[in-house]
Structure formats: C-alpha cells, structure tokens
C-alpha cells in the first residue's frame, strides 16, 4: 500500500531534481539566448525563396528564364513573374518583374522542387520583420537575387550537387555542341 501523499512527495522530488539540475546539467537547458546566441541552422533549414545567379553580375548571370512554372505551382500564389521583352516586343528569356510576397509565402519549397533551371532556392534568413505590413514584405528582383556563392554557403551539400549536375549538363551540351560542330565543320568545309 502506498503511503497517502507519497505521490506528491515523488513529484516534488522530480521538480527539485530539475531545479538543481538546471544549474549543473547543460542538457536540461535547451533555451537559446536568441539575439546573443544564434542557433546553428541545419543545412536543410528554409525560410523564403531566393533567386540564384552565376558570376558577378546579377542580371547577366540570372538563371531564371521566366518560364513561370513556379508561379503556376505555388500553392498560395505568392509569386508574380512578368516576362521581359525587347524593344521589338519579342519575349526574352528573363523576367522583367519577379516578386515574391513573403507575407503570403508559406515556405513550402514546392517552387524549388518544380524549377527546371535550378534558379529558385530556399534562403535561411529569418530576420525579416518590418514596421510596414506590405511594402517591405514584397521582395522584388533586386532583393531576391543572390549569388551562387551565397547559395553554396547556406546549403553546401545541395549546392554542390546542383553545381555538379549543371557542370555535367554544360559539359554534355558542350560535347554535343562540339560533336555537332565537328559534324558541321566538314560539311562546311565541303561547302567552302
């Protein structure tokens, strides 16, 4: 038979152990003192999407070709893309406007998965609060474009994989082009 009240004493013992333990056992305290201590985010962590560009010039190195697949697949419809056109009105393979409303975005990463050009990726920057509800939360192209090096720094494994694949694609394309060129040359020569 249990002594009446033994359960209460047992409970008090548990809390006492935790009280003392909180001063000595590191494992018990999971709190991070946020502004001073920053959590080390796991590689997979995601906040909101951004656009990757290669090289130094954001506009020139932009991978996005304004295919609008992400815009179509985005579950909350937070992406707006307007295709760029040249003076003649011919569609160019780059967006004139690329905006993501991160007040609407739910960080689901589906845009990343569906992008066939490895252009859109998830950022890890989470300090995005602002005093205005609207304007600062609509990210335009200038804010969205970030370099491949940045991408490498936040998602090293994923970025290495992407780069390897792009490199392989490029090589394949080059090889194909070279083969084509090699094939075309004699023909050219014959013509010439």
């Amino acid at each position: 038979m249990n002594l009446p009240g033994a359960g209460l004493i047992q409970g008090l013992a548990v809390t006492a152990r935790n009280f003392v333990g909180s001063y000595f056992e590191k494992a018990r305290m999971t709190t991070e003192q946020y502004p001073e201590e920053r959590p080390k985010l796991p590689e997979n962590a995601r906040s909101f999407p951004f656009l990757v560009f290669d090289g130094d010039d954001a506009e020139a190195g932009m991978r996005c070709v304004a295919c609008k697949i992400c815009e179509k697949e985005c579950p909350p419809q937070c992406i707006l893309i307007v295709q760029d056109r040249d003076e003649a009105g011919k569609a160019l393979k780059r967006p004139k406007v690329f905006e993501i409303d991160i007040a609407v975005c739910m960080s689901c990463q589906i845009c990343v998965e569906v992008c066939p050009f490895d252009s859109i990726r998830m950022d890890q920057d989470y300090e995005l609060s602002s005093f205005d509800r609207f304007a600062p939360l609509v990210l335009d192209k200038a804010k969205l474009l970030k370099s491949n090096e940045y991408y490498q720094s936040i998602h090293p494994t994923e970025a290495a994989e992407t780069d390897a694949r792009l490199e392989a694609d490029r090589k394949k394309k080059e090889a194909a082009a070279a083969a084509k060129a090699a094939k075309a040359k004699p023909a050219e020569g014959a013509a010439g």
Binding site: L8, V14, T15, T30, A45, E73, P75, M106, C108, Q109
Partner: protein, 366 residues
C-alpha cells in the same frame, strides 16, 4: 432553487486549445448544458485543395494538425498513392514510419503537458515535454528544413534523403526517451491530485465510443482494440512488433495513460525501424509529382494519426486537380461527444475532458 449561469468559455479563453468556444450553462459549478462552437479557424482547406494541383495540397496538410505535420503528410500521400497506384520506395517506407512515430511521441508528450496545464499545474510538465519535443523538432528541422511545417512526404516516397548522421541522432533520441517518460511518470502518475482529477471523470463506454465514431487513443481508452496500424497494416507496420494498449474504464485517466503507454510502444517501433532501414532511393522515380493526373476514380487513404483516424477521401476525374478533397479529421469527430462527456461534471473538469480528447483547432476547423 436552481440558479444557472451561462458562461462562454472561449474563443479567447486561456485553456480552450485554440479558438474554440463552449457555451456552458452552470448550476453552481456543475455543467448542465454545453454547446461547442467552432469554425473560428476555418481556412477553406478542402476547397483550396480542389482548386490547386495534387502536389500543392501537400503543404496545406501540414497546417491541419500543426502538432503532427508528418503524419498528415503521410495520410494525404497514402490516399494519392492509392488513387494513382503509385508504389512507394522501400527506404521511404522506413523513413515514413520513423518520422510518424517520432511525431506520435512528440504529440503524446505535448498532450501530457497540455492536460497538466488544463489542470493548473503551471506548465512544468509542459516545459519538460517541450524540452524533449525540442529534440524531435530539431530532428525534423534537419531532415525537412522546418520544425513544424515539414511538407516532407511526396507521392511514392519522401522529398529528400536523410542527412548524414540523422539516423544516429534519431537513435539517441529514441534511446533517451524512456528515461524521460519515467521522469514524467514519477512527476505525474503517482500524484494523488492528478489521480483525483482524472480518475472517474467522464467515462466513455466502449459501445458509445464506437457509435460516436471515436478513434485513436480516445477509442482505445474505452477498451476497444482498434489501431489502424494493426487493422490496415498500411505502409510497412506489419513488419514491426508492437503492442496496442487499451483501457478499461474510458475515463480521463485511461485516456491519459494510453498516451503514455503508446509512447513507449512507439519507442519500440522506432528502434526496430532505425535498426533495419535499407539503402536505396527515397522516392519512386516513376512517380510524377508535378502535373500528376491520377486516373478517374476515388480513394480513401487513412492512417493511425496520433489523435486518431486521419483519412483523406479523394475523387479524381483524371484532371490535374482533385475533383473532391475531403478530410476525416480525428479531432473534430472525437469532439462530437464532448457535451455528453461533460454533462454533470464540474466546470474544472470540462477543461480536463477537452484536454483529454486532445484536439488541435487547425484540424477541427480546417
């Protein structure tokens, strides 16, 4: 002399588990009528899913029962796989079991904390539960990129493979978990006040529970041996040895203890799954994610979610979006007997009964 007071508990009451409202009529402190009011969190999830692609519904399922996103993902993926006839990659099946059982663990310990909060224990149990839940959420974050809105399952598998060292970390969490459960039990299950608050409160008979459509721990607490992991053996649950606990009285205490016992069984499943996970692709390469067009037909996929039977009923007309997208939310259906359970109890019990059903308003209101 019968003076009754009508009070409105919620929608901004401290312990209604979200924006839930109960219009309660009290005679002294005894409940004579209780009218649940919900819908404050309605987000039109089903209609949105019907106007989006099949894949685009996946992130919305995270937000149903936001405590356990991964089981929601699984239920939806299961339904679509059934509808479209997609095979699931072997490794992904194991990952699904591991993440689902981790989800069940963290849901059940959070439940322990919440119900103690409803009893006024000042969040101590809740904080211990959250300390442990944090480890599981860290696992989720390193695997899926988000702590709660995981959006991880895909048709035919999972979105990405386990990162390096993840299995080892998961094993450590699983190994450390029984010790934590022991601590919780030392804090709680012997406590006379807790026993007095839970035992004999709102017993639910087995036949009533079945007729009321109850599922999950609430049903098993009433003594009904029904666990979809056993009944359907969906996924690869038939490969693991685990036991299904069931209660006898069906009162709040049984509903409380069933969660503790289930958590222990989940640890057993976790250990087996982690030990036997094979290598291989995590997603069936033949499965199409974007632009999926399942053949016309209908399917009902269901899983044993931490809160009960979570089912997705889908109708396809062969198009790129569901014709009908219907959810069977365990939280909502377990709530249907709330008034019956609460009548004749004290007002303080109402909170405990509501807590013992374990609802999440994201799922009740959808």
């Amino acid at each position: 002399m019968s003076s009754t007071i009508d009070i409105s508990l919620g929608p901004q009451h401290p312990s209604t588990h979200g924006v839930f409202r109960m219009n309660v009529t009290l005679d002294g402190e005894t409940v004579t009528r209780l009218q649940p009011v919900f819908g404050y969190l309605h987000r039109n999830h089903e209609k949105i899913a019907e106007s989006n692609s099949w894949l685009a519904a996946m992130p919305y399922t995270d937000r149903l029962d936001y405590i356990c996103p991964l089981t929601n993902n699984w239920a939806y993926a299961l339904a679509v796989e059934k509808l479209a006839g997609i095979e699931v990659a072997e490794r992904a099946e194991y990952i699904r079991v591991i993440t689902a059982e981790l989800t069940r663990l963290q849901n059940h310990i959070a439940f322990l904390g919440f119900i103690l909060g409803d009893m006024g224990a000042w969040g101590t149990a809740l904080m211990y539960a959250f300390r442990e839940r944090e480890k599981i959420l860290d696992l989720f974050e390193s695997l899926t990129g988000a702590r709660m809105m995981c959006n991880y399952m895909r048709f035919g598998g999972c979105r990405c493979d386990l990162p390096a060292g993840w299995l080892e970390a998961a094993r450590q969490v699983a190994d450390g978990f029984p010790a934590f459960l022991d601590e919780m039990e030392a804090l709680l299950t012997g406590n006379e006040i807790l026993l007095a608050r839970l035992q004999g409160v709102a017993p639910l008979a087995a036949d009533r529970a079945i007729n009321g459509g109850m599922s999950g721990p609430v049903l098993r607490a009433s003594g009904v041996d029904y666990d979809i992991r056993k009944a359907d053996a969906y996924g690869i649950y038939s490969r693991f040895a685990f036991r299904v606990p069931r209660g006898s009285v069906g009162d709040c205490y049984d509903r409380f203890m069933i969660r503790v016992l289930e958590a222990r069984e989940s640890v057993a499943i976790l250990k087996q799954a982690i030990a036997s996970i094979p290598d291989g692709p995590v997603v069936n390469p033949k499965a199409k994610q974007r632009g999926l067009r399942p053949p016309a037909g209908e399917a009902y996929g269901r899983i044993e979610g931490p809160k009960g039977e979570l089912g997705f009923y889908l109708i396809s007309t062969g198009g790129d979006r569901p014709y009908r997208f219907r959810i069977r939310p365990p939280s909502l259906i377990n709530l249907t007997l709330l008034e019956e359970l609460c009548l004749g109890t004290k007002i303080a019990d109402v909170m405990v009964i509501l807590g013992s059903i374990d609802i999440v308003l994201g799922e009740v209101d959808r």
